[in-house]
Amino acid sequence: MSTQGVMQGVTMAYVKTIGIVNNGDNGRGFANPHDVVVSRDGRIFVLNRCDPARATAIRVGICNLDEEYLGEFGNGFGEGDGQFGLPVAMALGSQERLYVTDEYLHRVSIFNTSDGTFMGKWGVMGSGDGQVNGPAGIAIDDDDNVYIADQNNHRIQKFTTDGQYVSQWGEKGAGSGQFNMPWGLCAAGGHVYVADWRNDRVQKFTGDGTYVAAFGSSGDGDGQFSRPSGVAVDADGNIYVADWGNERIQVLGPDGSFQQRLRGQATLSKWAEAFFAVNPDEQGTREVADLTPSLPPHLETPYQISSQVEPYFWGPASVTVDADNRLYVAETNRHRLQIYQRV
């Protein structure tokens, strides 16, 4: 089975995998990573959503491309300062600030990225101007405007970095400029891109909410989506979509034209290799196993296939692109990042 699609203008090459499952302990590894952002100095911030039954693992972990684990911040599950309920997404602002949305506590928490200090929070649950209900995706543009996918109000809201309401657009529906439970967001090149989750499409707007275009429709063909959850855009305007329900990544050109699809090809991270080094019994049986088996018909949805085929993406909730055109894919169900390079 080929994991690479038809190649046209943009080509992505697999680089490596970072991660290992973390069962709630301190230290290296991820617990249901839901979002990833990369700072200019190359630190990779991973949002470990986890779940309240494993409360301490809900936090932000930091590593780098060399797979050094640099630490973590956030105080686990709870309603206190620096704690999380159901964190969804992150965005980097100016002045070393990291913003994290929380769809259960209906708020944004702000941390200092240099030492993880809690800097503040804002957000009020509701449906009025500036109120949020299940804030999901978050993006910050070059002018420090904050955009939030207001999931259960089916709209995008624009704020200042201290939470002052600026404007909003959208309502529930399937027409242009309408949304159905929007999730991931990206602000790039003066535009805002929205993963319009339950409408199976990506919509593009100007920074003040003027509708520009929509890409995709429901399905599993090229350029079609099933519940897209994340979107990223590189400096040349190419669009990377976490096609969550299809368990794949799609790459679109700046005009939305289909370029490539990725199904994932994870390899062993350094942390995974360290595990097998001390567990040779598992390594031995793994070496003779077929990790990409064919499956009975009742297990052939993309989701079921990904549950069986370890190298494939499983729960690719979020994508991000760094300044060197590296693509990072956060896989919620596999506790790892797969990294690709645009070539």
Partner: protein
């Protein structure tokens, strides 16, 4: 519609489902008893909570690495389904073909098994047994992964005959060996790696890898076998074909269905129903649906005698209370606590104590489990913020101008929570309790959570605490 009709339908829904709200009972009553039985037996679209919403909100239920998330995932289905018998029959087979997490460390394989019970649980018994024999969770649970040509492991072969189809006394030790030979080569894909991971509870490096069935023809014993007096080059399907046509099998299956759906104890009238179920089993070509239809339409099942003749299992009790309260209809933080709650009451979904399943009936009850049972349902059904409780209050307020004597309050609440039929002593105690709250209740102008509503809540709490509510 008479109260007798509601009481009969409520009885049916406690057995073939997880109870019903008054709105649901009214809809069933409109189509009648027989049509309701047939609708239950022929599930359409269950309209359960959408999977994409669950997976977005509950990452643990998307990954299904752990037992609690998997149990919660099944509970969501039981709570929201419009086809409750589909879940109830899956629960029945889960108790009979009891497969547990402790040895497998593979919650997804267990949920896939439950899904197989949904697909095949009301159909032909022989088809169900073939699916069960290919089920990855079962293959590892009863060591068929160690059942090889020339070196058989009898565990699955033995339990297939003893616990899953005929019962002890209807076959010989030699039959067990021959049966086991027929199932050699039925195993998991990557059996060695998966068994290693299971035995170490390994989630490393990238979480669980789900399982699938594999037939290894090179490991299958192609030799001639003699099973229950028949001889041939039998494979597993042939063995199951022979099993399905045995009288002992028909009797075993009908008996177990009767005990789960009709009464914990079988008396002579019950024996006659079981005979009729066996006949339906054969007439229909081994259809579980046909045997159940005979049961549900039997005079015995529809009579007063069958009412409250079973102790509710913990999951029946839990799901029944939640469905009445109307909670957990959308993804809800903390739903995994419900899975723990069942465990606290003595029935952890996907973790039966052994291959023999749970000991049912009176054995559900001890002082520890009773505390958990009463406290959960009492709290659930007295919470004024739950939609189902609000619906009860709205109905009470609409009756008689919202003015109710203590007797009326108790009788109406008993009616709307079931109807629940209670002993005179129970009713007296309930009325005394309601009266101690202060004479007649006037719900006109009631506001959410006010003192009048609180009195209703208190009465609902005590009704939920009765012995009668513990029975199905």
């Amino acid at each position: 519609m008479s109260n007798q009709d509601f009481a009969l339908l409520a009885h049916l829904m406690r057995r073939a489902g997880f109870g019903a709200t008054r709105d649901e009972l009214e809809a069933y009553a409109a189509q009648g008893y027989t049509a309701t039985v047939d609708e239950l037996l022929n599930p359409g679209d269950p309209e359960v909570m959408p999977d994409d919403l669950i997976r977005r909100y509950h990452v643990d239920q998307s990954e299904l690495r752990q037992l609690d998330g998997a149990g919660a995932n099944w509970l969501y289905r039981m709570v929201t389904t419009r086809c409750p018998l589909e879940e109830k029959i899956a629960l029945f087979w889960h108790g009979l073909f009891a497969t547990g997490y402790s040895k497998l460390n593979q919650a997804r394989a267990l949920l896939n098994q439950i899904d197989m019970f949904r697909r095949h649980g009301l159909g032909r018994f022989d088809a169900l047994l073939v699916e069960l024999s290919k089920d990855p969770a079962m293959l590892l649970w009863l060591d068929n992964t160690d059942n090889h040509k020339g070196a058989i492991n009898e565990n699955y072969g033995r339990e297939l005959l003893e616990l899953f189809s005929m019962g002890i006394g209807n076959y010989t030790e030699e039959d067990i060996k021959e049966c086991s030979r027929a199932f050699t080569g039925w195993t998991l894909g990557n059996a060695e790696y998966m068994a290693m991971r299971a035995s170490k509870d390994s989630i490393w490096p990238y979480s669980r890898i789900a399982w699938h069935f594999q037939y290894r023809d090179w490991d299958h014993d192609e030799g001639q076998k003699t099973f229950l007096g028949e001889t041939g080059n039998f494979n597993g399907e042939d063995i199951i074909g022979i099993i399905a046509r045995q009288q002992a099998t028909a009797r075993f299956v009908s008996m177990r269905l009767f005990q789960f759906f009709a009464a914990d104890d079988v008396d002579s009238d019950g024996e006659q129903v079981i005979e009729a179920m066996m006949q339906s089993y054969f007439d229909s070509g081994y259809e579980i649906r046909a045997a159940l239809r005979t049961l549900f339409l039997s005079e015995y099942f529809m009579s007063e005698k069958a009412r409250y003749a079973r102790v509710k299992g913990p999951v029946e009790l839990l799901v029944g209370a939640i469905r009445q309260a109307g909670s957990y209809r959308a993804p809800t933080l903390g739903v995994h606590q419900l899975a723990y709650q069942g465990f606290f009451m003595g029935q952890g979904l996907l973790q039966p104590p052994s291959v023999e399943g749970w000991h049912e009936g009176m054995e559900w009850i001890d002082s520890g489990s009773l505390v958990e049972r009463v406290n959960f349902v009492a709290q659930e059904l007295s919470s004024l913020d739950k939609p189902g409780v609000r619906a009860i209050i709205d109905r009470l307020a609409a009756e008689n101008g919202g003015v109710l004597t203590p007797e009326q309050l108790v009788d109406q609440c008993l009616d709307l929570l079931g109807p629940v039929a209670v002993e005179d002593d129970t009713r007296t105690a309930l009325v005394d309790f309601a009266a101690a709250g202060g004479g007649a209740l006037n719900l006109s102008g009631h506001q959410p959570g006010d003192a009048t509503e609180q009195r209703v809540s208190n009465v609902l709490r005590i009704i939920a605490s009765t012995r009668e509510y513990q029975l199905a």
